[in-house]
Symmetry: C2
DNA sequence: CTTGACTTCCAAAACGTTTTGGTATATGAT
DNA sequence: ATCATATACCAAAACGTTTTGGAAGTCAAG
């Protein structure tokens, strides 16, 4: 018992054309007719068949989002906040959000191709860009609109929002240095992730500008999980001359590093300083609370989404490339170097 | 230059009907023709227009999921793991996932109604059921298929997967009692959440069966966040006769409670025992590591999704109601009562 | 030779919209 | 009386599929 335009037409005695136009508020329908049609429509409980609309017009009012998930224990607070930002913004602007979750790799690209080929979505939001990002290439090749959270290397440019990881990490490194630390380790994300590059570089720049040589033994890589933070920190603490501060490149790894230090009865913030990046809500309530860089993930999600929808609606973007300065949040996990 | 059936028909010299049938592997097309059509189709790079298909057939091959998000700082590892489970399963079975994020309340129900009215999705996955769940009523009223993660009170039954929170919390309470604890507090979720009821009841049952009276001063409510765990634990620790153990009803609140205890220089696992529920990946790498109940969220997501798709395809479910027994994971945050 | 069954194919209708290309009537200017 | 313009409407086409209801041809049985 689905109500269609035809039913309204029959009921009002008007043609389907007129009904359609009345509902879409065209000029060439008298206001009396419009009123009539609208009343009957709401009386019958009419809702347009979205697939008929989409078949006719050639767009879908849907944006695509493919989350790169790593294995079954994918559990990153980072993503849920970002998703909320994107999702709420999309809903507010009347767009649907088609979400897929795939591990990076072939399956992921296949998922993109399927959405592109089938023209299932009008455009994409890309998250966590990679250095040489197959997804970017895939979408650019197909000339599909997208906005990314993160930058990438490549031939062509694309609109993005990104946090200025270089600036942020430099700020943070300076902070640690100002506390007296000289042996500072960094646990950075896998280098294929674009933001890993900036954050690591910022760290190195911070050292360099203070005249501290970088010690490769103090540079570790972790897969952004608490587990990896824990394990890499263990390795660092086992060094003959261990660091007095560890800058983890995200909060989750920082938590892991904190656990590793605490397992050895080090007091974090006194015996050793540990810092993160992202300022996920948990950072405020860990013990000790975490010194980190704030990244407004919810807002970033909303921004990226809004930019994409602007693009889809043919508007020009005021700014195609947005770089946000993360804010240093000093809490208890970083403290003066014990003399 | 989108390739349609018409193009293939023209190219092969067959009719559109035959082409459609060849591609759908109907019997009444000769194998020679099938072969020809299929070759031409892949040569031209044909992909069916999904909206035309959906208009014609009356289903969408899409399932809906509306995440209840609480404010901008929505950041729950619980959800990302669940999403991954649902998303990957849906993709594997050839279904799209339409995700919306809305705070519980009017907007949320409106989102459901919009999806239902517009027949945008074939069915729903419902997560985090509430005692009297407007979403359940909305969907049952519209006779829309759905499978829930969680139970709910109501007139009619529905298929669900749920963890046996009552059993789990009883197990955990017993564990704490066996360690010598008698003054045990519980930080439970807001009572409108259905699982809050079971977990709290399990806690009470555990006390009762050991002959320990429940002290209402030791029952606190928190909104599942680390922050709330922190604050409720502070209140508990300020009591004239504070608890020696705190059972938080999820891991996030347990982490918050741990921070609160540690802020007072209590050693968690020695001076006080603190436990969680969910066993999110972080639980293993907190300091101390968290005693908790394991809930296989990824698998639950996958199960719920699979059940729904079964339903949509008209199959009977072997089991309409699945109750999983959570497993007690004893780690360092719970220890013998200090005498 | 006729009949019926089977195989292989096709034209047209249907799904529910929006858009195209009109028509009919009224109004006012010439 | 004629023309131009504006207003209010509509039939039919289009979007790209699947399904309906045949039709033509072949073959074997009667």
């Amino acid at each position: 018992m689905v109500v269609t335009l035809k039913d309204i037409a029959k009921e009002t005695g008007k043609s389907i054309t007129t009904v359609s136009r009345a509902l879409n508020d065209y000029d060439e329908v008298s206001s009396a007719t419009k009123e009539l049609v609208r009343n009957v429509a709401s009386e019958l409980g009419y809702t347009p068949n979205i697939f008929a609309q989409r078949l006719q017009k050639q767009y879908t009012d849907t944006i695509g989002l493919i989350f790169p998930t790593f294995g079954p224990r994918f559990s990153d607070p980072f993503f849920s906040e970002l998703l909320a930002g994107i999702g709420n913004q999309a809903a507010d602007l009347g767009y649907d959000l088609l979400v897929s979750t795939r591990a990076p790799g072939d399956e992921e690209i296949k998922a993109y191709r399927a959405m592109v080929q089938g023209r299932r979505v009008d455009g994409f939001v890309l998250v966590r860009t990679r250095r040489k990002d197959a997804r970017v290439e895939c979408l650019q090749e197909a000339d599909y609109p997208f906005v990314a959270f993160g930058r990438a290397k490549g031939r062509y440019e694309f609109p993005y929002v990104d946090e200025d990881g270089l600036y942020g990490m430099r700020l943070l490194t300076r902070h640690l240095i100002s506390l007296g630390h000289r042996r500072i380790a960094c646990i950075s994300p896998p280098p294929e992730l674009m933001f890993a590059h900036y954050r690591l570089q910022g760290f190195k720049d911070g050292l360099t500008e203070a005249g501290i040589p970088t010690d490769d033994a103090l540079l570790r890589v972790g897969n952004l999980t608490q587990r990896d933070g824990y394990e890499q920190a263990k390795i660092l603490l086992d060094l003959p001359s261990p660091p007095t501060a560890i800058a983890a490149c995200n909060d989750l790894m920082a938590f892991g590093a904190m656990s590793a230090a605490q397992d050895r009865d080090l007091v974090v913030g006194k015996d050793i300083s540990i810092t993160g990046f992202d300022n996920i809500p948990m950072a405020e309530y860990s013990h000790p609370s975490l010194t980190t860089l704030h990244q407004p993930l919810y807002q970033i999600g909303a921004m990226v989404c809004k930019m994409l929808i602007r693009l889809l609606q043919g508007e020009e973007l005021d700014e195609k490339k947005i770089l946000l300065k993360p804010e240093l949040i000093v809490r208890q996990s970083s403290g003066l170097l014990k003399s």
